[in-house]
Point group: C2
Chain length 422, copies 2
Amino acid sequence: MSSRAGVGAADVRMRGFAERKDVEEVLALLREGSCALDQESVSLASCAGRVLASEIASPVDVPAFERAAMDGYALRGEDTFGASAYDPVTLQLIGESMPGRPYPGEVSPGQAVRIMTGAPIPLGADSVVVVEVCREIDGAVELTEAVSPRKNVGSVGEDIRRAETVLEAGRRIRPQDVGLLASIGVASVPCVRRPRVELLITGDELLPAGSKPEGACIVDSNSPVLQALVDRDGGVQVGSRILPDRMPDLRDAMTVCDADVLLISGGSSVGKEDYAPGLVEELGTLLFHGVSMRPSSPAGGGRLGETRVFLLPGNPVSCLCAYEFFAGPTLRALGGRSRSWPHRRRSATLARKISSQIGRTDYVRVAFDGDRVLPLAISGAAILSSTVRAAGAVIVPRGLEGLAEGEVVEVFLYDDEDAPLL
Amino acid sequence: MSSRAGVGAADVRMRGFAERKDVEEVLALLREGSCALDQESVSLASCAGRVLASEIASPVDVPAFERAAMDGYALRGEDTFGASAYDPVTLQLIGESMPGRPYPGEVSPGQAVRIMTGAPIPLGADSVVVVEVCREIDGAVELTEAVSPRKNVGSVGEDIRRAETVLEAGRRIRPQDVGLLASIGVASVPCVRRPRVELLITGDELLPAGSKPEGACIVDSNSPVLQALVDRDGGVQVGSRILPDRMPDLRDAMTVCDADVLLISGGSSVGKEDYAPGLVEELGTLLFHGVSMRPSSPAGGGRLGETRVFLLPGNPVSCLCAYEFFAGPTLRALGGRSRSWPHRRRSATLARKISSQIGRTDYVRVAFDGDRVLPLAISGAAILSSTVRAAGAVIVPRGLEGLAEGEVVEVFLYDDEDAPLL
């Protein structure tokens, strides 16, 4: 592929974009190139939430022995036939079987063994009578209910059978999956490697997060937001630097980058010191630059060797939006997860119309007003607080001039929704 | 409150429960006693996902200066009136204002300053003409479009005003919130302390997770599941031990526990070695023991001093279910989160009826069959694999005898749902 593939303009600085790609075109370009990274071995204690790289078959039966499903007495079911409250059956109590401490002998007709849930069924016994219908008297046990053979007995492999596939490749590991892996004796788990992500934040005006804003300088808010988004999407941040608006500094930083994903914030637009797109073109492949969307239209992306690069506009809402549309799906795909947005969604009726433009995709911050949803902001890429005040975002697809009042829209919620249970 | 308050039976071992509480009663008991823990200071880099303990007001205006909203030229708007492609206006270019490097002088009539997005507007200028309609020629700039004063100028405090409350107490901190906190100069954030959780797993038959099952011994699967659930719910695991089924060992471990929440797995039922409920009663307050539900009916809970104790049955599905119903909500409430279940939910039609019993709450593992949902298991508390095969759980409330085929039910999904976006 030529290093100019798909690029709208070679140098848009102080000129403007000659053309912009549609969001869908960019997503198609990004989908082409990305599949899950290689695998790594992860300890059982750390594997929850990770993505399984290959299927797991059980090397054992679980349980490996017949076990009691209830607390009670193990015996031969036929010995209990006819037992009732009026006509109890009495059996000789010959010992007990506890979890981890099985009864060593055999149960003969007329005998019973005290047994606790999970303990091995002794030889000779075929069922368990629950404790609630029994009474112990002087080395004997009196039962007031009959049980049929196999009752309250868990068979070998009832939970998991040896050689059975218990988890498929690509599975996001749940809490209970970790328990299952433990129970079949797994100590480490083959997981898709988490993408290593480096952040380069450009701007002479930026002070590091944690500083106080001062004079013409503002505090970098993009790296804290990106760090939290990378965490959410399963990436590992391996570096974060603020760079001055100087081409050699940015070139050096890009040249030494060996992360799976490089996020460059700022320097992506048509300003005089927006060196990032040109450098991606010079050092690698610029796949796209300039997207027909609002905000984030100066977003771009490409490759530097094996590293996926995303150019995120420096304005904080644009940075967030470009991450969500382009970087986030790629990051998740590299980690073996779904490309789709991880937000919870809710349908709601628009309380006011949203104006857009055919050919442009809009990312609109919205708030709830009861059951209805109110657009807060479409423009204002510099107003990070709009994403703090908003409950979520509505996307206006490029085929529409806007969305009418009263229309039902899907809201991508910024928070995980919590409705009461009982 | 007496130490016997709400306890169904003083010693149910080898007798059975005389009575069981309803799930709702237990939830009401638990709701009474729990509110958010105290606060702690958390670094900006670690605060995403945490719960804010007190509201945050901004000490500054953001931005603290007027700034360019676009790349272009700062000038006096009235100088551009009448400019068009046929009749361009030419202004003298006297310098530039870059982010962090403002233009030091003043813009007079007939002059312009090259300016990049985010840079301070120079004295004298009142608007910015975008770069796309300008051309630089020999120290001058030619414009083909007029702008009105204030156009493309961000005013002081347009994002955040000094003294404004930017985030309310109780807010779960979003990625963009971290950015906002950075931009107002915050370095550390007052957050609700994460509950410290200790696990005690009882059972002579248990080998630690990571071992191979052997003979009558099985591998502890409850602590890996609980650890992952505690992580999910914002707790910090401060200890996890496997204890033999001996009362003195359990008593010692309970006595020295100083965690916020103690989860005891196993030893909670009516078996001979089920010491946990009696010990909670002896050393503290047993609030409930025995719940009318399936699975998890031997669940219990109470207090040991300031520590909330939960007795989780040792069977793995019961352990998971008792955690979700009782321990999870308490853990989240202590951490300042919502008590409600964190699962995503989906409505679906039942493909087969679920039988239950009036007066009992059931936790039913279900799978999807297209759009319909199929009950997999109600009983089988020992079959952890049922929660691995299932897509989620349906709860049958105690007022119902069951749920009919064709009924629409709410499924609590085990996985976060991911539907395609575009």
